[in-house]
């Protein structure tokens, strides 16, 4: 049994946060100029690189869709990203689940009808896992797509939330994630619309609404942090152009 005080009676979590506080969120875009779009996101100690190619002509005929762009997700989780080194095959069930979730999420969020007969190739590289990996990947993909100039309806900002006894806890780190069921959502912009929702384990129905509310608020804060980075990067570029 885990003997950690995941949420102390004084209202503090294992890492010192309160129930509704995000971890450190650092992001950068255009980290890999050799690609059309790229980003690097750190959510706590979870670290993800994302590189996007496209929209481009699909190398294979079979990938052509006459009405919209095809989005291809390549996920790679480094074997050293977990505490105990573990090799993950690409056909691992969990990987396929994440891949499908992400593909569906972004098919909805990218204005793919603007790019018929093209392929958008998204490469995600997870370097370190410290909980909320799916959320970190989602945020990295959003930023890389924006960097690539792919038209999207809005930001998709993702965050996880767990339930510890009665209390929803926002943005779980790995210690917390191991010990409670958790929900990852992707919020569309500043709305309350969700582009993604993935529940690990199970969560009592009566707690769900509360948990969602906390997660959506967290997602909005992440959107703002990503927006800051995109704008500051944009300004930098503009200043280079004008000078």
């Amino acid at each position: 049994m885990s003997r950690l005080e995941l949420y102390s009676p004084e209202g503090l979590r294992v890492d010192g946060r309160r129930w509704n506080e995000l971890r450190r969120f650092d992001c950068k875009i255009n980290t890999h100029p050799a690609f059309d779009g790229s980003s690097y996101v750190e959510q706590g100690n979870s670290k993800v690189i994302c590189m996007v190619r496209g929209p481009m002509e699909p190398p294979m005929r079979s990938q052509v869709n006459q009405t919209q762009a095809v989005i291809e997700m390549n996920l790679n989780i480094a074997s050293f990203s977990t505490l105990q080194r573990r090799k993950r095959s690409k056909n691992d069930k969990r990987m396929i689940e994440m891949k499908t979730t992400l593909e569906r999420t972004f098919e909805q969020s990218v204005m793919s009808h603007l790019y018929p007969r093209t392929l958008i190739e998204v490469n995600v590289q997870v370097l370190a896992q410290d909980g909320a990996v799916l959320a970190t990947m989602t945020n990295a993909i959003t930023l890389a797509l924006i960097d690539a100039g792919v038209a999207m309806y809005d930001y998709v900002s993702a965050v996880s939330v767990g339930i510890h006894d009665q209390t929803p806890l926002l943005d779980l780190n790995v210690l917390e994630e191991n010990d409670m069921s958790c929900l990852t959502i992707g919020v569309v912009g500043k709305s309350e619309k969700l582009a993604m929702l993935l529940l690990e384990d199970k969560m009592p129905l009566d707690k769900l609404e509360n948990a969602l509310a906390v997660a959506i608020a967290g997602g909005h804060r992440i959107r703002d942090l990503m927006d800051d980075e995109v704008r500051s990067h944009g300004n930098q570029r503009v200043s280079k152009l004008t000078s």
Binding site: P9, G11, D15, G16, L22, R24, T167
Partner: protein
């Protein structure tokens, strides 16, 4: 590697990097750590923190607990206390004491260290903080910007943590000086037993005191002084007393367990010989024997120990000698035993005797491997009840502190050395002591006095002693628990208007028209169950079992629920009942009293003529019991031909069906086992200490029992169907054949032609029926009693722990079983109720009962509580019987159950008492001879007659009650006549 970064949210993040060694491996671990400035100091005297309080998810603000006018000391003004880790670990009893330690700050780092060192103490500390009446707070110094400190180069983690505690104390001083609303700012006293750290703290301007100094400076310090736990140094003068082997280092034991040279298991002291014990490890089928002081190496009964095998030439068979702590070294002077060797002479003789025995017996079969304890993983230390050995008290010494021995009630434990000033006062009292340490150079463990329960043999003291010894929570229910009861109190009633908008009420079925009655022991106050039956037009019968709807009042995640869960069961002593739930529920609101409307949880079957189930329904209901019968009343009513009202008719139906049910059960192989205790009327509330009554069983007893079993089985199926992973069930494993080996061997020798077969419960039941001695009516019962002791104990479990075939209840011969019918007094039933309510869609099942892991914790606890309650009940009867015997000596029939080379164990069926008769009490010890093959002890008795007694022999014994001089325990003494 420390990079501090301030985030936009106001938090500062750092990375904590450390190495974790585990199982010989090592891992680099990096954790994010957030520092903040909004952690309050919790002082009411502070006018800063109140402006910066952050609510939790429910919107509640933290309470400022520390008084603005805390205790003033003789030397040093008003103060708060900051405790360090060792003080908590050593003196948690003192911290819990209501006479001292109010307004205490526990730094987070201390809490964490305590948690790593001892989880039970951590839980007690947390309970102190939660209870709030002692005003303990946890200050999260590790998360506070101003109190977090980083490890310095080459600093050990302990030094760093000590520094953190000092920093915390310093911060409180600065903080209170700056923001105090009172004129003289409150000071902080650091209570710390580490001399070096105290020096450092004082250098930093902190008022640091040792525990002793701090207690001395309290106004009531004189009174409390004895309660200070001993430190090793205080017994220093006995340094060279003994040399137990040092324990192996953890790295050595871990490697040893991994490579299979060391084994881990729970240590059990032999019931009859305290210098012998055994450890059952997964590696061996039979337990490893551990013999002699040096090999036992300070292990306590119940400790989790690591052992090492001894060479094969030291392997031997289990001892056939009785040896109690009281018989060796009882007359030691606690202060003066330096000339004593590690192995006492008496001990040596015993061992020599044993060794001879072992060599005579060349047959490998009985030889058991022996081992020695090399490390103790987890101590089982708790509070112990005992009394001061009068021989160890120096009556000359005035009121100065002196060292004396405490003999514990639990005979398998060694005596404990304590220091007290009140030795003389405490003589002849039951006292509670706590063990602090057992260094390798000390012959006996060291402990300290906790409190006195009162004079030996006073009812209150003995009862409390018994409850403490069996770890039964007997304190009154706390306010938080009582607050969960309905506000209406005794006036609570079933609502008159059933359509009052309450959705759940609507789902209840109105069964008030059914002719329900209850049948219980006389004067029963907590009526769990009631029954009804009526013939149906199709020739079948409708039978209903109605169980008190406890979960209507005990909602999950309330203080009431967690109290019930932690108590696990009500405990029935001869003269008192310790309730699992508050009286108001048990004897009133939930109890299905007659003539009033009550909420119930009903199981209604349609049974055919042969008592086969045609249909079963479960429902929450409202019932009105027509009558509460005692077993006898019900029996009379059934037999009274003149009574032909509908209620009586329905009881007759019930009786008829119950007989069929019972027959079916017996045919399937249900066991009818016996234990002498059951025969003593345990549940009796009469407690007139003049008679011991053997309980008479009426047909109506078994009437109720059969339907309760049927309800339990039906419910078990239903909840297992609904919650296959977490259903709360009860199982009874088949006994392993080895358990019956010894008994069958004895039977072979003593009663040729008889044996017990155990292929199935049916075979067992049948073979027990065949064990009849035409000359001795009681012999069959005796065999049943002895067989019962070879059986496994039934246990609660959650359905994910076993595969379906292992759900079987061996004794009842059913494939699945649970407890549903007594929710007032068993927590298992409460869980079963909730799961059944969930299964029938009455309400959502709380997540804790759907979580495998949490169910595992519940199950573990209720199994333990159930066991303890049984032991406590038995101990209570034993005490009670002893009291009865006091004025009631008589000669009775007895049976020999066990034989040793220096004594026999005799059972007296009349009183259900079992007692040991040692060789010294039988006759001339020197003339005695023990024939191990025949289980016979021959000796010359005091009259000069040579006698031989063996197992199963019927003997006449004089029964009287004597008080053990050493332990103060009254027990029944048997003397062979």
């Amino acid at each position: 590697m420390v990079e501090k970064r301030k985030l936009a949210s106001g938090l500062t993040t750092i990375q904590k990097t450390f190495v974790r060694s585990r199982n010989g491996g090592c891992m680099k671990i990096v954790r994010e750590h957030y520092l903040r400035s909004d952690i309050p100091c919790y002082s009411q005297a502070c006018n800063h923190c109140i402006t910066n309080l952050k609510p939790d998810a429910q919107g509640n603000l933290p309470l400022l607990v520390l008084l603005d006018l805390p205790l003033k000391l003789k030397n040093g003004g008003q103060h708060y206390v900051v405790v360090d880790t060792n003080v908590v670990l050593q003196a948690i009893d003192l911290l819990e004491n209501t006479e001292c330690f109010y307004d205490v700050v526990v730094p987070q780092i201390v809490l964490e260290e305590v948690k790593n060192r001892s989880f039970p103490i951590y839980q007690r500390l947390r309970a102190l903080v939660k209870a709030a009446d002692k005003r303990f707070v946890v200050f999260h110094n590790e998360f506070h910007e101003e109190t977090y400190i980083t490890r310095e180069k080459d600093e050990s983690i302990n030094d760093r943590n000590d520094r953190a505690v000092n920093r915390c104390a310093q911060w409180y001083n600065e903080h209170l000086a700056k923001y105090s609303s009172t004129k003289n700012p409150i000071k902080v006293i650091l209570v710390c037993n580490d001399r070096n750290n105290r020096k450092r703290a004082i250098a930093e301007g902190i008022d640091a005191r040792s525990l002793e100094d701090y207690i001395e400076s309290l106004p009531n310090g004189d009174m409390l002084r004895d309660l200070i736990p001993t430190e090793n140094e205080s017994f220093e003068k006995n340094a060279a007393e003994i040399a137990y082997p040092e324990y192996y280092s953890t790295s050595r034991t871990m490697a040893g367990i991994k490579n299979g040279t060391l084994y881990q298991g729970v240590f059990n002291t032999s019931t009859y010989n305290i210098l012998e014990g055994s450890v059952l490890t997964p590696a061996f089928k039979k337990p490893l024997l551990i013999v002699g002081t040096k090999n036992l190496n300070r292990a306590f009964n119940g400790d989790l120990v690591i052992v090492e095998l001894l060479p094969k030439d030291k392997w031997r068979e289990p001892s056939t000698t009785i040896l109690e702590e009281s018989s060796i070294g009882a007359n030691d002077n606690a202060d003066d035993n330096s000339q004593e060797d590690l192995v006492s002479d008496k001990e040596r003789r015993m061992l020599a005797l044993e060794a001879v025995k072992a060599t005579i017996h060349q047959g490998e079969k009985k030889l058991q491997p022996t081992a020695r304890v090399v490390s103790i993983t987890r101590r089982s230390w708790r509070f112990y009840v005992g009394q001061i050995a009068s021989s160890s008290v120096d009556n000359e010494t005035s009121n100065a502190s002196q060292t004396c021995f405490v003999i514990l009630m639990d005979k398998v434990l060694p005596k404990i050395r304590i220091k007290t000033r009140k030795a003389k006062e405490l003589l002849g009292q039951r006292i509670v002591v706590s063990v602090d340490a057992w260094p390798s150079n000390s012959k006996y463990p060291q402990g300290h006095f906790v409190r006195s329960l009162g004079a030996i043999e006073t009812e209150g003291a003995e009862r409390e002693a018994l409850l403490i010894e069996h770890d039964v929570e007997y304190r009154p229910f706390s306010k938080a628990v009582l607050d969960c009861l309905p506000k209406e109190g005794e006036n609570w009633k079933v609502p008159e208007n059933l359509d009052n908008g309450d959705e759940q009420l609507k789902k209840r079925v109105d069964l008030r028209d059914k002719l329900v009655c209850s049948i219980d022991p006389p004067n029963c106050q907590d009526i769990d169950d009631a029954l009804h039956a009526k013939p149906l037009p199709n020739g079948h019968y409708e039978v209903g079992v109605h169980i008190a709807d406890v979960t209507h009042f005990v909602k999950p995640n309330t203080a009431l629920d967690s109290e019930g869960a932690s108590r696990g069961t009500s405990v029935y002593l001869v003269d008192k009942r310790i309730d699992m739930l508050p009286m108001l529920l048990g004897t009133n609101l939930c109890s299905l009293n007659p003539y009033v409307e009550r909420f119930a949880f009903s199981v209604i079957w349609e049974l055919d003529e042969n008592a086969e189930i045609v249909d079963v329904k479960f429902m929450k209901s409202i019932i009105k019991s027509r009558e509460a019968f005692s077993y006898e009343q019900a029996q009379l009513r059934i037999e009274d031909g003149s009574q032909n009202d509908e209620l009586t008719q329905s009881i007759r139906i019930l009786l008829k069906l119950s007989k069929k049910l019972k027959q079916k059960r017996m045919d399937a192989g249900a066991l009818n086992l016996s234990s002498p205790e059951v025969k003593v009327h345990m549940d009796s509330e009469t407690s007139d200490p003049g008679e011991v009554e053997v309980k008479k069983l009426l047909e109506t007893n078994s009437l109720v029992e059969e339907f309760m079993l049927l309800a339990n089985i039906s419910v078990a199926r239903k909840i297992y169907d609904a919650y296959p992973q977490t259903a709360m069930l009860r199982r009874h494993a088949a006994p392993p054949s080895t358990n019956f080996e010894a008994l069958n061997e004895i039977l072979r020798v003593r009663k040729p032609g008889m044996s017990i077969s155990i292929e199935s419960s049916k075979a067992l039941a049948d073979s027990l029926d065949r064990c009849v001695d035409p000359n001795d009516e009681y012999f069959n019962t005796l065999i049943r009693i002895m067989s019962t002791r070879c059986m496994m104990a039934a246990e609660y479990f959650s359905s994910s722990s076993y595969g379906y075939p292992d759900f079987r209840h061996y004794g009842l011969a059913v494939d699945i079983y649970t407890h549903f019918t007594s929710p007032i007094r068993r927590y298992c039933d409460v869980v079963a109720h909730r799961q059944l309510a969930g299964a029938i869609g009455y309400e959502m099942l709380d997540s804790q009962h759907r979580d495998k892991h949490k169910m595992e914790l519940i199950v573990r606890n209720i199994n333990k509580r159930h066991r303890n309650a049984q032991f406590a009940g038995r101990a209570s009867i034993e005490y009670y019987v002893g009291q009865v015997m006091k004025n009631n000596e008589s000669t009775q029939e007895g049976y020999v159950m066990k034989s040793f080379n220096n004594g026999i164990v005799v059972l007296v069926p009349k009183f259900g008492v079992e007692g040991m008769i040692k060789l010294e009490m039988l006759g001339d010890a020197n003339s005695a001879a023990y024939d191990e093959e025949k289980y016979e002890l021959s000796f010359t008795d005091f009259k000069g007659v040579s006698r031989t007694v063996g197992i199963f022999d019927k003997v006449q014994v004089a029964v009287k009650s004597v008080q053990d001089e050493v332990s103060g325990k009254r027990k029944v003494q048997l003397v062979l006549v």
